[in-house]
C-alpha cells in the first residue's frame, strides 16, 4: 500500500505546489485589489476547509459561521498585507486560528475528559491502534475529538484534514516546530484514549 502510493504522492505534491498554490496566491492578489469576484471565488474554495476547521475547533455551527464571516472580512481588509513568503492557505488559516482562539478564550472552552487521566489509560490497552480506528464510526471519532483540548484538535485538524506541513502548522498556530510534533503525538494518544474511554462508558 505504501509502496504503490508513493509515485502518486509525489505527483499529488508537485501538482499541488505548482497549480494550487500559484492560483491561491493570484486569487489573494486579486482580493487585495478589491476584486469582489475573486473574494467569491476564494470563499467557494476555502469555505469548506475553513468551516470544517472552525467547526471542529469551536464545536458550534452558528459560532463557526460567525467566525467564518469574520475571517472572510479580515481577508478582504488585510489581503494587501500578504507578502507571499508562505502559502496563501497558511496565511488564511493563520487568521482563522487567531479568530477561533479569540472566540474560545471569550467563551471559556470546556473539555469533557481530563487529559492526564486519559494518558494513564493508553498503555493498558491491548488493541492495536490501527484496528481500533478502523472499527470506530465517525460519530465515535467525533465524540473522542470533542474530548481533546482545542489546541490538540487543532494540530490533528491541520495535519490530517488540511494536510499542512509541520512548519506551516507552526506558523499558523504560532508555536515552535518541536511543539507541533509533540502536540500531534500527544493528540494521537489522547484520541485513542478517549475512544477507549467512551467505548467503556456507553
Amino acid at each position: 500500500m505504501i509502496q504503490s502510493g508513493f509515485a502518486k504522492y509525489i505527483c499529488e505534491r508537485v501538482s499541488r505546489d505548482v497549480y494550487q498554490e500559484s492560483s491561491d496566491y493570484l486569487l489573494l492578489l486579486r482580493v487585495a485589489n478589491r476584486d469582489r469576484e475573486a473574494l467569491a471565488e476564494m470563499y467557494a474554495r476555502f469555505q469548506r476547509p475553513l468551516f470544517r476547521y472552525l467547526f471542529h475547533l469551536v464545536g458550534h455551527k452558528e459560532l463557526a459561521e460567525d467566525l467564518l464571516q469574520e475571517v472572510m472580512v479580515i481577508i478582504w481588509q488585510k489581503a494587501h498585507t500578504f507578502r507571499g513568503t508562505a502559502r496563501a492557505s497558511g496565511w488564511i488559516f493563520g487568521i482563522a486560528h487567531h479568530q477561533a482562539f479569540k472566540a474560545l478564550r471569550r467563551d471559556g472552552s470546556a473539555t469533557c475528559l481530563e487529559l492526564e487521566v486519559v494518558m494513564d489509560l493508553v498503555d493498558e490497552q491491548a488493541t492495536p491502534e490501527a484496528d481500533l480506528l478502523r472499527r470506530t464510526t465517525h460519530e465515535e471519532v467525533s465524540l473522542a475529538l470533542a474530548c481533546l483540548t482545542p489546541e490538540h484538535r487543532e494540530v490533528l485538524e491541520l495535519a490530517f484534514f488540511q494536510d499542512f506541513a509541520c512548519k506551516e502548522i507552526a506558523a499558523i498556530v504560532g508555536i515552535p516546530v518541536g511543539t507541533v510534533k509533540s502536540r500531534l503525538s500527544y493528540a494521537r494518544h489522547a484520541l485513542k484514549a478517549a475512544l477507549f474511554r467512551n467505548g467503556w462508558e456507553t
Binding site: 509502496q3 504522492y9 469582489r36 469555505q47 468551516f51 470544517r52 478582504w76 499542512f164 506551516e168 510534533k181
Partner: protein, 317 residues
C-alpha cells in the same frame, strides 16, 4: 507504545518524527523518498505509518460528516463589506494625519490671508516700540525695576489688540464680511497673529535678560510681565468689540496710567517716596501682580469677547 508493537523495535536511524508528515505528503520530495526507502526494510516504521494513516483516514471520515455553513453566508459577508466598517485604531492614523495636514493647510491659508489684511502698522510699530521699551530693562536708570518695561510693552500689545476689530479700524472689513468665513475665525486668526507676534518680541527681548542676569526670574516674568500683558490685551479686545477701538485705547491708558503714576513720580522727584501715598493705589498695583488670577481673567475675557462678537455680528449684519 502499545503491546502490539512490543516485538517491533525502532532503530536509531528511524525517522520517527517524520512519519506523520510522510503520511500527509508534506515532506520535501527528497525527504519523502528517503523515508520511503527506509520503510521498505523497517517493520516498526511501517506499523507507525499504518497507525498514522488509519488516524488520518478516521479523521477524514469525520470531515465528510461535518455540516456545511449555511447557504446565504457569503451574501451576509458581502453585506458586511458594504457597511462602513469599524477600523482598528491604528488604521485611523493615516486618515488622522491626512485630516491634520488638511487642517494645517486651511489654517496656514487663513493666517496668510489675514496677515495680508491686517494693518501694516500692527506689525512694524511693535517692532520699533517693544525693543525700545525693553531696552529699559538693560539701561542703568531702570535696570533694577524691569516692571516699567513690563508695563509699557503690555500697553503696546494691548493697543495692537484694540486695532483688530471694528468698522473704523479694519481696512478689510467689507472683504471679510462677504466671505463665508466666520467672524470668530477671522478674529481668532488675527489675535493669534498680532498677539503671538508681540509675545514673541517680548520673550525674545527679555530672554537674554532672564538667562544672564538674576533680576528677572522666569516666575517673575510670567506673573508680572506676561500675565498683565495677556489680561490688558484681552480687556482691550473686549472693549474694542463691545464699544469701539478708541474706548479700548482710552481705558487701557487709564488703567495703565494709574500703575505708571508711582513710577513717574519717582522718576520726576528723584526720590524713593511717592509723592501721594495712597493705599487704594497700592491695592490696585497688588492686583496686577497676581499672575494666576490675571491669566484666568484674560481667558474669561477672551471667551466673553468671542461670545459677544457672534451676537454683534448677527445683529449688525
Amino acid at each position: 507504545m502499545t503491546q502490539h508493537h512490543k516485538h517491533l523495535v525502532s532503530r536509531s536511524d528511524c525517522p520517527v518524527d517524520q512519519l506523520e508528515w510522510f503520511v500527509n505528503h508534506t515532506l520535501p520530495v527528497e525527504e519523502q523518498a528517503k523515508v520511503h526507502a527506509h520503510l521498505v526494510g523497517c517493520a516498526f516504521c511501517q506499523a507507525e505509518v499504518q497507525n498514522w494513516m488509519e488516524l488520518r483516514q478516521a479523521l477524514q471520515t469525520v470531515s465528510v460528516h461535518t455540516p456545511a455553513p449555511r447557504a446565504d453566508l457569503f451574501l451576509q459577508i458581502e453585506q458586511q463589506l458594504d457597511l462602513p466598517h469599524q477600523l482598528a485604531p491604528w488604521l485611523h492614523l493615516p486618515r488622522l494625519l491626512q485630516a491634520c495636514g488638511l487642517a494645517l493647510l486651511v489654517c496656514a491659508e487663513h493666517f496668510r490671508a489675514q496677515a495680508r489684511l491686517i494693518r501694516r502698522e500692527l506689525f512694524w510699530m511693535p517692532l520699533v516700540i517693544v525693543p525700545l521699551i525693553s531696552l529699559t530693562v538693560y539701561l542703568p536708570p531702570w535696570q533694577h525695576s524691569p516692571g516699567t518695561a513690563a508695563l509699557l510693552t503690555a500697553l503696546c500689545t494691548a493697543f495692537g489688540m484694540a486695532f483688530l476689530y471694528g468698522r473704523e479700524v479694519d481696512p478689510a472689513r467689507e472683504m471679510t464680511l462677504v466671505t463665508p468665513t466666520s467672524p470668530r475665525l477671522v478674529l481668532g486668526v488675527r489675535c493669534c497673529l498680532v498677539f503671538g507676534y508681540n509675545l514673541l518680541l517680548n520673550c525674545g527681548l527679555v530672554l537674554p535678560f532672564l538667562a544672564v542676569q538674576g533680576i528677572v526670574t522666569p516666575a517673575w516674568f510670567l506673573a508680572n510681565w506676561l500675565a498683565p500683558l495677556c489680561c490688558l490685551s484681552a480687556i482691550a479686545l473686549l472693549l474694542s468689540i463691545l464699544v469701539n477701538t478708541s474706548t479700548a485705547l482710552v481705558v487701557c491708558i487709564l488703567l495703565w496710567g494709574l500703575r505708571l503714576l508711582p513710577g513717574v513720580q519717582t522718576f520726576l522727584m528723584g526720590g524713593p517716596q511717592p509723592f501721594w501715598p495712597t493705599p487704594g493705589l497700592q491695592q490696585y498695583e497688588h492686583f496686577w501682580h497676581q499672575g494666576p488670577l490675571l491669566f484666568a481673567l484674560a481667558i474669561l475675557t477672551m471667551v466673553l469677547a468671542f461670545l459677544l462678537l457672534e451676537r454683534k455680528e448677527r445683529f449688525s449684519g
